[in-house]
Symmetry: C2
Subunit: 382 residues, 2 copies
């Protein structure tokens, strides 16, 4: 294990998590969703990196965003084109240091990437749940993860970390399991989805639900609401980036077209880029999960009926760091700052940091020495 001096050094040569594989946790106990509906059993797909120490006190749970998954570090084979989605942050000597921490990342309940969700078989009918799967909330996602944490025999997490929808889960962990969370690190998130963010999700859902391929959720693979899902994703992708970031990447660049171009041909590079984002997404994501997860986001409101964020945080014991990003207009700095302010007002140990990055909401997924330093230092100062 490295000592703190070495950890703090910017010049330490970071190691790689290397080749990983996923695990499946299965719970045969009934799971009751916040809406009251139940499923008889469920599975969560997850990965871990590093080793759990003897007293099980070094576990970090990483919560993923809407379209993320459990594969946040390492590769499945040396042929993989890309490592997990937060690979630059997780590994031996990296900010989330697997020499010190046992890192867990679980796919969410209701998802479509190995955890039980609408595409899973309902054991009571032998057919996929589809729309009969209960609508999960952020609280449900966290409750299901807590079962996994039980299974891993972890009483108390050293830290829960997540950005965007993962940041919502992070906050919910500190609220719902105050005794089980030592610290939280929430990035690019919000204490409640505002109307603009609901509006974007609503348009995405409309595109899916009104696609003739939707078929009330009973579509067959390859004949589903692909156009609707890709349009939803294209639009959402714009909200994940900034105008400045797009400008820098594309600068109104045009594709070379023949003079006889048709209206259907793509003219600007940014159009081509978005079309590609939409197509890739359709090949890996389930439309029902997309609708479910966006609903979970839209219903997220820590202010609740009391209208008080301080009240929501009353029982939190975790030390907290909230990080906003200057160019994030989906969950702008102000919304992140409000979380830290409310924690402080509620008498908690909380900080807010703002990272000046120009790539919008998705900045939290990108490499930044400043972001790395904030995360590294927060985890060192246990």
């Amino acid at each position: 294990m490295n000592d703190a001096t070495q950890l703090l050094s910017e010049n330490s040569s970071d190691g790689e998590v290397g080749i990983v594989r996923h695990h499946d946790f299965r719970s045969d106990e009934e799971f009751r969703f916040e809406c009251g509906e139940t499923i008889p059993s469920f599975q969560l797909r997850y990965e871990t990196y590093g080793n759990l120490n003897k007293d099980h006190s070094n576990a970090i749970l990483v919560c993923h965003a809407l379209s993320g998954d459990h594969h946040c570090a390492g590769v499945y084979s040396l042929q993989d084109r890309k490592p997990g989605w937060w690979n630059q942050m997780i590994g031996p000597g990296k900010p989330i240091d697997t020499n010190r921490f046992f890192v867990i990342c679980s796919n969410c309940i209701g998802g479509c990437q190995g955890s039980t969700g609408p595409t899973s078989i309902n054991p009571e009918t032998g057919s996929p749940y589809r729309l009969s799967f209960p609508l999960p909330t952020i609280r449900d996602m966290v409750a299901a993860q807590a079962r996994l944490i039980d299974f891993l025999e972890i009483e108390r997490l050293a830290c829960v970390i997540g950005g965007s929808m993962g940041g919502m889960q992070t906050l919910q962990w500190a609220i719902d399991f105050p005794d089980r969370v030592e610290s939280i690190l929430a990035l690019a998130t919000t204490p409640r989805q505002n109307d603009q963010a609901i509006a974007f999700n609503a348009v995405g859902r409309t595109a899916i639900l009104q696609d003739p391929g939707w078929q009330n959720g009973e579509f067959t693979s390859g004949a589903g609401p692909d156009v609707g899902l890709s349009v939803a994703r294209m639009m959402a992708h714009i909200t994940y980036v900034s105008d400045e970031g797009l400008e820098q990447k594309f600068g109104r660049a045009r594709r070379l077209l023949n003079p006889e171009q048709t209206l259907e041909e793509i003219e600007f590079e940014v159009e081509s880029y978005l079309r590609y984002q939409g197509q890739v997404f359709v090949s890996r994501f389930d439309p029902i999960t997309y609708i479910y997860f966006t609903k979970a986001l839209d219903r997220f409101d820590l202010y609740g009926k009391s209208g008080s964020l301080e009240d929501a945080f009353a029982n939190v014991t975790a030390r907290a760091l909230v990080i906003g990003f200057t160019s994030d207009w989906l969950f702008p700095p102000e919304q992140n700052r409000r979380i830290a302010t409310a924690l402080l007002r509620a008498g908690k140990n909380a900080s807010y940091a703002e990272v000046d990055m120009k790539f919008g909401h998705d900045s939290f997924l990108l490499d930044s020495p400043e972001l790395s330093r904030f995360i590294r230092n927060f985890l060192i100062n246990r």
Copy 2:
């Protein structure tokens, strides 16, 4: 006619334009589009308010935005639920004072509300043009309007005014017809469409072009790409308003739903509002025109090949006022300010004003004493 003192008084009782009717201007001369294609003749639908003076020196041309039309003031009958889209700005004693000015507003070429466009009959084939109609540019819109101005025997316009796409036309008028424009007033606009704005338009076009109802533009009325067009409009509408404006209007308000609500049911008021916006739009707008006009916006780039806005403005003689709106994130204040700065750099008589309104891009369409004052004073100081 009012004298200036009375015009400046905030307490002057403004009159109404009253009942109006539209006119159709028909040009039987060939019209050549910037792309080189031609049509043998065309029509522009327009309205006028006030009277042209003897020396024809008091004409103001109002240019409309993407989804606007020629009906910007007055009503067609006393039963009309709403007057024209800028009624609060145009009328006897109003900022664009019809006691002093002869105001013209023309529907754009390529449009779908009475001017010649894709849904018009091609006289050479007897069938609607549809996709055989040439793609208009902002410059084409202005060139067609210039023919109308010729027909009205107006040598020189006292002012060209417009917001958003209308602002682009306003700038183009000053550039293409420097001798015919005495002043310009451009609001909530941009010297070039940036990648983020192109991206939103691209998603809207994708939704239309990939709707099974698109049929390569050969759809029949009532069986067209209605879903695609309404999704495009819903998304675009979000870009016309601000998060603060939405928050103030909706504040996460929910509709009353029965406990057995289905996924298709609308949960948040903002969703309901957007759905309605989409539906209304489908009933009044043509999908081909929508694609054409968004293309015209996306291709708008006054920087051009030289990359210099000053060069673009080199021949402008018009006095200019550019107005940006603090909460406009589609064409933010900075993009408006750049227009005035470039005009000043090019040695022109130009000003920039910023109006603090919280309703986003569409603020220019709303009532504001400050905005009214800027416009009134600019027109008085001839």
